[in-house]
Amino acid sequence: MLELHSIYKSFGGNQVLRDVSFALDNKTPITGLIGPNGSGKSTLFHVVMGFYSQDKGRVLFNGQHLDTLPPEKRCHSGLSCTFQDSRMLTFMTVLENLTAIPTPQHGESLVKSFFSPLLVHRQEKEIQEKARDILELLSLSSLADAPAGSLSYGQRKLLEIGRVMMTDPQLVLLDEPTAGINPTLIQSLVKILETLVQRGMRFFLVEHNMPLVSQLCDRVLVLDAGELIFDGCATAAKKDKNVIQAYLGSDGYVEA
Amino acid sequence: MKKIVCTVLLCLFAGTAVAGTVKIGAVQPLSGKISVYGEGFQRAINLAVEEVNNAGGIKGQDLEIVYEDNLSTAQGSVSALQKLISIEKLPVVIGPAASSNFLATCPIAEREKTVFIGAESAASDISTCGSYVFRVFPSDMLQGIGVAKLAEELDYKEVALTYINNDWGVGLANAFKEKYKGKIVEEFTYDEGKADYRSEILRLKKNNPAAVVNLTYIKEGGTMLKQAHEMKFNPQWLLGSAAKSPKLVELAGEAAEGIIGTYPTFSKTSGLYEHYKTAFAKKYPDEKLPIFGEYNYDMIHLLAKALNNADALTSDSIRASLISASQGFEGVTGDLSFDENGDVGASYGRWSVKDGKIIEN
């Protein structure tokens, strides 16, 4: 599915990513990416999404080269992402936040919206239905017409997952989805992720919350100072010497 | 408290009703780009109105001018004219300065059959505006020819032509180019209202012509003369009439020495011009003689004469009496008899600056 071949990226003098290569296949439902602060996680995230262009190396998705594509072209290939600070459009209603996402829409071409309103209307109804199903799943349908600005921080995180689902992606990059939300909401988020995995969606989770990572992820990649130092199952990661050293300095320990 | 207020209001309105004045509309640029000229015209008009009213006014009633500001724009002029015609219902309206504003309004006056008379618009297109449109200011066809004749009289075979890039400058330049038989060494326009014309002057200096015809306004003319003098470029400057004002001499200082220009001649003989100058100085002690002020002054007197012997205050009868009154009417600016399309002829005299003063000869 997603392949990265020896990615290098530096801002000014400081080398943020050094020779990062890995491949995500279709089988592992959720892969985690962990690492201490400043290890280059978000930079890697932005490189894959195309907001930063890497200095060297190639990014492939289902065999297709993404390096030349600008961000707006990459998501047509089935790749999508959420943002760390869940950039919701506060003034549009919750429903609108979802219905505006799918592209291309017939309604977006002016010629069609004037001269073939039926086509537009039909597609609009489909999109509305899809959005309402997603809100049902996220148990947010009661807030469908409220402005997104009035949602609580946790609800926004859920809505962001909904927004991603609108594009029916194959792989979703989650950038610290559980940062700053209470445990009960985290469990509901986990439940939703599991149902989506059944539907065939794959996730690439960038996260700090160790218990969540070990609970969810079958495969974990650890990044430290721009280098990939571990690639394996979650439990092995906890015992691995380099990972411990990377996280807690030389003589630290990790509780089970 | 309410009782007092309404009594005050009542007598205010009563006041205007009793006096019963004859009203004429006036669309003037009182704000915006050419408000500099608007204020000058207004003073000249008020002076003339005062004189008319002292001499008995119009059939015993006082003459009153209803001013409307046109913000120096075409849209403002149209709004002002529409208001004067349909709200104030005035049969006679004085047109705005600048040909562009005048051209925007004269079709409306023609359609509404209102006598429309202008005192500062030179564009030759105005002659074809219509039967209700008159103009006491000579069309730029005549001015351009006047400057061309001046250049030939001073036998300049070669001359550089530069003019301000607005309707006045371009109109005059076209007329000049047709009439002037000599060679035009260099010709270009320059922007209105700029502060630095040194590069333009340099371009003139390049082929150092003996004389330079510069059709300009006061501000641009003053700046150019001064900057040319600074750059030791002293050709014989030939100017149009729009720069003939003591303000130009004030701005250009010594650089204005020896410049020559044309202006529509005033009838020196009848001493009207002296009377106008002294009357103006008395009424506005600290103000300078406004440019084109004489035309407005004459226009009011001509209108007063026409209104007096018009049988009814309707625009048609005023129009007829205006044409008859203008035949042989000797104003400060000379003979004001209208030709068939409402223009006045003008013969051209010369003005020049000698030790800081404007001399007409």
Partner: protein, 292 residues
């Protein structure tokens, strides 16, 4: 009566002009300070065409096309800029158009302007009432188009792009194409307003399309409330009627010079107070109310 017709026509033209700017400024967040440039292109296109014999309707249509095209050509290179930079670039564009019209005397007779532009004529009548009716019909149709655009998915995505371009690009919206299309539509209708203006006034000259007109139309959009459909309409009507209303102040003749300056001082003061008290305009877009 003619005067009321006059105010009605000027209001309608300002409504069309302000609404077309609102599509760009209000909905797409493009600070287009050069909208008067397209207004001028529209006026001159229809004036030149009708003066050389074409019918008025053909002139108006051509005005829309030429203005829309120039909007497209202008926006292609400049759209990569955001916010203030786009504003200055468009301001520069409008001044370039004015200078072009002023100096290309072979085409536009330069500062002499174009007199005698034929008026709108239906079945032989061509008074102010006819012009008012045509302006009314054209404005209503245009407002209907704007409403359709605003409420369609196109309008929704436009708002998405205005609020957060980053998210829009992340979800595959071709931001540049949306903005270019909005610019094209906005300038087309701006050109149409210019065409109507030329046929009503009968005479146009380059200096009518100055910075002052840009500021006036900007005020209509901002005063009324940008981003809404009703906003520019209310703004335009207010600006035109207040402007004309000040003519009726009962003042002695000698004072009129002073009054003109006071009038524009008031104009500036209103602008400042408006920005201090209610920057989102009279008819605020729903979300802006909490934001202040």
């Amino acid at each position: 009566m003619e005067y009321l017709l006059h105010i009605g026509i000027v209001c309608l033209i300002y409504i069309l002009f302000a609404s077309s700017l609102n599509l760009e400024l209000g909905c797409a967040g493009l600070y287009n300070f050069g909208h008067v440039g397209f207004f001028a292109i529209g006026s001159y296109t229809t004036a030149l065409l009708t003066l050389s014999g074409y019918s008025v309707w053909f002139g108006l249509l051509a005005a829309m096309l030429v203005a829309g095209l120039s909007g497209l050509i202008f926006s292609w290179p400049v759209l990569r800029l955001t916010g203030d930079y786009f504003g200055i670039a468009s301001l520069a564009f409008a001044e370039m158009v004015r200078l072009f019209l002023l100096n290309e005397r072979w085409l536009t007779r330069g500062p002499m302007g174009l007199p005698g532009i034929p008026r709108v004529e239906i079945l032989g009548y061509s008074g102010n009432t006819v012009t008012l009716l045509t302006a009314l019909v054209i404005t209503v149709v245009s407002l209907f188009c704007f409403k359709k655009i605003l409420t369609s998915p196109f309008g929704r995505t436009l708002k998405l792009i205005r609020e957060d371009e980053h998210v829009a690009r992340a979800f595959g919206k071709d931001v540049v194409s949306f903005k270019t299309r909005t610019m094209a539509i906005g300038s087309a209708f701006g050109g149409l307003a210019g065409g109507l203006w030329a046929h009503y006034l009968g005479y146009i000259s380059p200096n009518d399309f100055s910075l002052q007109l840009t500021v006036l139309v900007l005020l209509c959009v901002v005063l009324g409330g940008r981003g809404t459909l009703l906003g520019p309409i209310v703004g335009a009507v207010l600006v035109v009627s207040v402007g004309e209303g000040l003519r009726f102040l009962p003042l002695p003749a000698s004072m009129t010079a002073g009054v003109a300056h006071i009038q524009s001082m008031l104009f500036g003061l209103v602008l400042i107070l408006l920005m201090l008290r209610r920057p989102q305009g009279i008819i605020a877009e729903s979300h802006l109310i909490q934001e202040t």
